[in-house]
């Protein structure tokens, strides 16, 4: 039975989502417990899956009993195992932390809200596991449609942001599908492992180059890579506080992971020479995005918007690592991707918490209000340390590995870009932390509001996770290195 673990992990949120309308038909109060149970169960099973992958190797799951390339295949390797674990944990915690906020914003719509959170999680899970280009497209669209709806939940201004997100996202999906079509026309297959065998002979083919470019544009829109990021700041700012942690932590990262898979698992295997130019382009784009994102973040007043631009910078950083084209580079990129998901989740949970509790939405608000809650301040500090990249957090080690891989490649411009991003990140976090931590402020002290247990739990677990990612970084990197060693770089 343990070979079936990936599909079982996927089926839990999926079944809960499709049962939600019936379960909530007469008693919408049941939806939240059902969703939390499903995500909790998914987390436990994904732990088991990771355990199974680490002890007995990757699982290749052929749907409908048809071996690839005839059927659809899922590949659950170490990277997918870790990513799904992170994904389910973050989804559970970000759903858990907002009891009051969610129900207030959602009058009478708890059923579709919880169902859509679960379809989002299922879509992302499928994207992580899938080893078939077209299958990834379908999951991409499930996750994207859920994302559009969740951004637009609060109505008003959020509807306009969601509409823009939808236009950009659908164009991205169309580009991705176009790229897949070119690949299919040139190779006749959709399975990644099969493509990896057939593509090396075809690398001079203009159709493959074109297909690759279209996929990159499409996934670039989905991962909000710098010139294509237009939808993201508005969408994350206007999304309800219960939703933005989920979106910020997961949606762009999973699209980026899909791109890494295509680049390395389809193209890099055995055809390094031809692809080197693409990698050259990639880290340049990444360096531009990381510095640009950090600069733009520095100019933002709104806290969530500031952190959204910060997230853009981090997507760029991951690409700098991935673009080195070495095993060390791709491993460092993947490690930073995992870290980034956790710290963005914590950061947006905290930003949402002070927004909904104390009405603190901008830097000016922050300067006027004194936050009496140690939980929130601690969470902010830990997330900020990790975002800046100070030890002993995971963010530090992630950046450290990226810099090491760039130095190993003698790519000093990339190193300068990472350092510059770090300095800028420090600058924009100091502007946030300084009023928060300053004592003896003249402004009125906010009324004491007890931090609810769920929020403490989410903040605590995520803070511990960020520090844990730092302390055990060598173990995790070893696992990732094991996964990437099969690429033959």
């Amino acid at each position: 039975m343990s070979d079936h673990l990936p599909i079982l992990v996927f089926l839990i949120p999926f079944l809960a989502a499709i049962c939600m309308p019936l379960v909530g038909l007469n008693n919408p109060g049941r939806c939240r417990p059902l969703a939390l149970t499903a995500l909790g169960g998914m987390f436990l099973l994904s732990v088991a899956t990771l355990w199974r992958i680490l002890s007995q190797g990757a699982i290749r799951y052929a749907f409908s009993g048809w071996a690839p390339p005839t059927g659809i295949e899922w590949v659950a390797d170490e990277i997918a195992g870790i990513m799904v674990l992170v994904l389910s944990a973050l989804a559970f915690l970000s759903l858990l932390h907002t009891r009051q906020d969610a129900s207030a914003e959602l009058a009478g719509r708890t059923v579709p809200y919880h169902a859509i959170v679960l379809t989002l999680v299922s879509g992302l899970t499928g994207m992580v596991y899938s080893g078939d280009l077209f299958n990834i497209f379908v999951f991409l669209e499930i996750a994207a449609l859920s994302g559009y709806a969740l951004v637009g939940v609060s109505g008003g201004r959020a509807l306009v942001s969601a509409f823009r997100y939808l236009i950009m996202g659908s164009l991205g999906a169309s580009f991705y599908l176009l790229g897949v079509s070119y690949f299919y026309a040139a190779t006749g297959t959709l399975n990644m492992a099969d493509l990896a065998q057939r593509v090396p002979d075809l690398l001079a083919s203009k159709a493959v180059i074109g297909g690759l470019s279209f996929m990159f544009i499409g996934l670039g829109i989905k991962m909000a890579l710098m010139p294509l990021h237009g939808w993201l700041p508005d969408a994350y700012t206007d999304a309800p506080d219960a939703v933005s942690p989920l979106l910020a932590a997961l949606v762009t990262k999973v699209a980026l992971l899909a791109w890494i898979r295509i680049l390395y698992w389809v193209l890099a295997a055995g055809s390094y020479g031809m692809i080197i130019e693409i990698f050259g382009l990639l880290w340049v784009v990444g360096a531009f995005a990381s510095v640009g994102g950090a600069v733009l973040a520095l100019t933002q007043q709104d806290l969530k918007r500031r952190f959204a631009y910060g997230g853009l910078a981090h997507i760029g950083l991951i690409l700098v690592g991935v673009g080195q084209g070495t095993q060390a580079g791709v491993t460092s990129g993947l490690f930073y991707l995992i870290n980034d998901a956790v710290m963005q989740c914590l950061l947006f949970i905290m930003a949402g918490a002070i927004g909904s509790r104390y009405g603190v939405r901008t830097l000016d608000d922050l300067g006027r209000t004194r936050l009496p809650t140690p939980w929130i301040i601690t969470g902010f500090v830990v997330a900020a340390l990790s975002m800046i990249g100070l030890p002993p957090t995971g963010g530090f080690f992630g950046k450290w590995y990226i810099v090491l891989s760039a130095i190993e490649n003698e790519n000093y411009v990339a190193v300068v870009a990472v350092v510059l991003t770090t300095v800028l990140t420090m600058a924009y976090f100091i502007q946030v932390l300084e009023p928060m931590l300053r004592d003896g402020e003249t402004g009125p002290r906010s009324p004491e509001i007890e931090t609810p247990l769920q929020l403490r739990l989410s903040a605590g677990v995520l803070s511990v996770a960020i520090i844990g990612l730092g302390l055990w970084s060598d173990r995790i990197v070893q696992v990732l290195l094991h996964a990437t060693s099969r690429l033959g770089l």
Partner: protein
């Protein structure tokens, strides 16, 4: 839009006759999708549009609309059929959606696969029909209210 029934008696009369015909044709398309063009999607969309036609023509008080509204609330049933067929394959010892492992005595693997195809097509059709109706209800909530400027 679905506030009132259609004014013209001819339209109402015609629809009374047309809707069952469309539905029978949809079922034909659905079940003969293995031999002809068509199948779950087309059958489902046709079923859904026949129900939508009923809603638009007969208005909100007609029994058909009331029943349709109840049906639209049970979104997800079709997917449950599909997923249940897939899950039975898991129980039978095969991979998810491997219909050859459906434990039905007396059927060879190709026939089991054929049966699986029919069952899952029903699931697809039900889900698409119900969701199409549900989307139409959602889209017409606002234009039906008349308070277009919030």
């Amino acid at each position: 839009m679905i506030e009132s029934r259609h004014d013209s008696v001819i339209v109402r009369r015609l629809s009374r006759g047309l809707i069952p015909l469309v539905q029978i044709f949809a079922l034909y398309i659905l079940f003969f999708g293995q031999y002809n063009p068509g199948g779950g999607f087309v059958g489902g969309v046709m079923l859904g549009t026949s129900l939508i036609l009923g809603i638009l023509v007969f208005g909100p008080t007609d029994p058909l609309t009331v029943v349709t509204k109840r049906i639209a609330e049970t979104d997800g049933v079709g997917l449950m059929i599909f997923a249940a067929v897939g899950g039975l394959c898991l129980i039978g010892g095969g991979q998810f959606l491997n219909y050859a492992e459906l434990e039905i005595p007396g059927l060879a693997a190709p026939s089991r696969r054929s049966l699986g195809i029919i069952l899952t097509q029903i699931g697809v059709a039900v889900d698409i029909a119900v969701t199409a109706v549900s989307i139409v209800f959602s889209l017409s909530v606002m234009s039906g209210n008349g308070d277009s400027h919030g």
